[in-house]
Structures are given as structure tokens and as C-alpha cells.
């Protein structure tokens, strides 16, 4: 694919994991779409930050734990992960609670990044 066709694509994740299927669906779409070599970023806002909270143990609810898969994103050349600062604070979390390297940004900074995107996909 030529340079000229590379689009900026942002995945916006705002839901907690396991309660709904959004988080897993988003992750699967990211992995599938990674084959197209686009300029991909992932943002985690609101309850979406819980997706990256270290230490998921899903045995008791008999659901697949997909948290380890976030660590594979780097292999797929997906390495721009942004987490909303206000969302972390409102949940008593910090960057150290995240299971993968992330960049913490304010909601306004994330909003600015949104303006730069060609495509936004919401989950």
C-alpha cells in the first residue's frame, strides 16, 4: 500500500471489559485491521481505562481473559495507546496500573488528537 493512502485511524474505547462485548470486539477489529498498515491509535476513556487495569482473572466467570492480547499489539505495530487522565483519577487508578505502556493525556488533549483523524471507530 502506498504512502499516500495511509489514513489516521483512531479506536475510541469507553466501556469496561466483560460487562459488554465492546472491549473484545474492539481489540479483534484492531488486530484484523492491522493488516492494512494504517496509522493506528487507541484511546481509552471513561470506563474504557478498566480494560487495561492490570491483573484480570476471569476464571471465575468462565470468560476468556483477553488482557494478555493487549501485549501483542506491539507485534502488530500498534503502539500508540492513549489513556484519559481524568478517567484514571476518577477511578483511583494511575499509569502504573496499566498492563501495557501507555501515554496519559487529558480529555482535551485526546479531543485535539480526534480532530486530526481521518476515521474514528467507537466502541
Amino acid at each position: 500500500m502506498g504512502e499516500g493512502t495511509v489514513k489516521k485511524i483512531m479506536y475510541v474505547n469507553r466501556k469496561a471489559p466483560y460487562g459488554t462485548i465492546y472491549a473484545l470486539e474492539s481489540l479483534e477489529v484492531v488486530l484484523i485491521a492491522a493488516a492494512f498498515d494504517q496509522d493506528v491509535s487507541l484511546v481509552f476513556m471513561d470506563d474504557g481505562v478498566y480494560q487495561l487495569k492490570k491483573g484480570h482473572q476471569t476464571k471465575g466467570i468462565e470468560v476468556k481473559n483477553f488482557q494478555p492480547t493487549y501485549r501483542a499489539l506491539d507485534d502488530y505495530d500498534v503502539n500508540k495507546l492513549y489513556v484519559e487522565k481524568e478517567a484514571l483519577e476518577a477511578r483511583g487508578l494511575s499509569e502504573a496500573d496499566m498492563c501495557v505502556p501507555v501515554e496519559v493525556k487529558s480529555a482535551a488533549e485526546i479531543g485535539k488528537l480526534m480532530e486530526e483523524q481521518d476515521v474514528l471507530l467507537s466502541f
Partner: protein
């Protein structure tokens, strides 16, 4: 649901022949799955299959072929981390066939 027979024991597989319960896998199961793919397993084949199982255990996904190629190159050297080598071992798609033999689900993003 379809099934394959290994040493007198029956193992469930899906409509495409992928093992349903990956915890049931062992090398004998892998051999029978390989026969279904008409692949004669060599140490080089097992190396890729075991690599995939390790990758799955660590990340809970079967990698796409591009990712597999890159990761194999990193771990086993550039002479193995290229698609020509992997397609020689698994002519109908390294990710697809090797995953099947490894008892893993079809790779995410495998078209």
C-alpha cells in the same frame, strides 16, 4: 460436530477441522491433524508449531502470518523468519495450517 480419532480416543473438531478444546492437544493429536493437512512433520515443522503454542499461551491469540514471520525471525533467526521458508513447511498458509496442527483456533485476521 465432527471428530478425529487419536489412539482410540475421540477429539472434537469444528467444521474447518480446528481442534475445539485446545487443552486436549498433545503431539499425537498434532500428528493426526498434520496427516489431515497432508504434512509430514519434521523437527522444523514442530519448531513452528511449538512456537505458535508458546505465542498463544503468552498472548491468547494465534498471530497473523505477518506477525508470525516477524516473531519467528526474532526468535529463530532471519533464515527462518521469512515467508518462503514458512510456506515451504506449510504450503497452504503457515498461520492457518500450523495453527490447526498446533490445536489453536484459526488466527485472528486470517482471510
Amino acid at each position: 460436530m465432527a471428530a478425529i480419532d487419536v489412539n482410540g480416543k475421540s477429539y472434537e473438531v469444528d467444521e474447518e477441522g480446528y481442534l475445539v478444546n485446545l487443552a486436549e492437544w498433545d503431539e499425537d493429536v498434532g500428528k493426526v491433524l498434520a496427516e489431515g493437512e497432508k504434512i509430514e512433520m519434521t523437527p522444523n515443522h514442530w519448531e513452528v508449531v511449538n512456537f505458535l503454542r508458546d505465542y498463544y499461551n503468552e498472548f491468547q491469540i494465534a498471530p497473523a502470518v505477518r506477525v508470525l514471520t516477524k516473531a519467528i525471525g526474532k526468535k529463530l533467526g532471519p533464515e527462518k523468519g521469512n515467508s518462503q521458508y514458512l510456506y515451504e513447511l506449510f504450503p497452504y498458509g503457515p498461520a492457518k495450517q500450523a495453527c490447526k496442527i498446533a490445536g489453536l483456533p484459526k488466527p485472528t485476521g486470517c482471510i
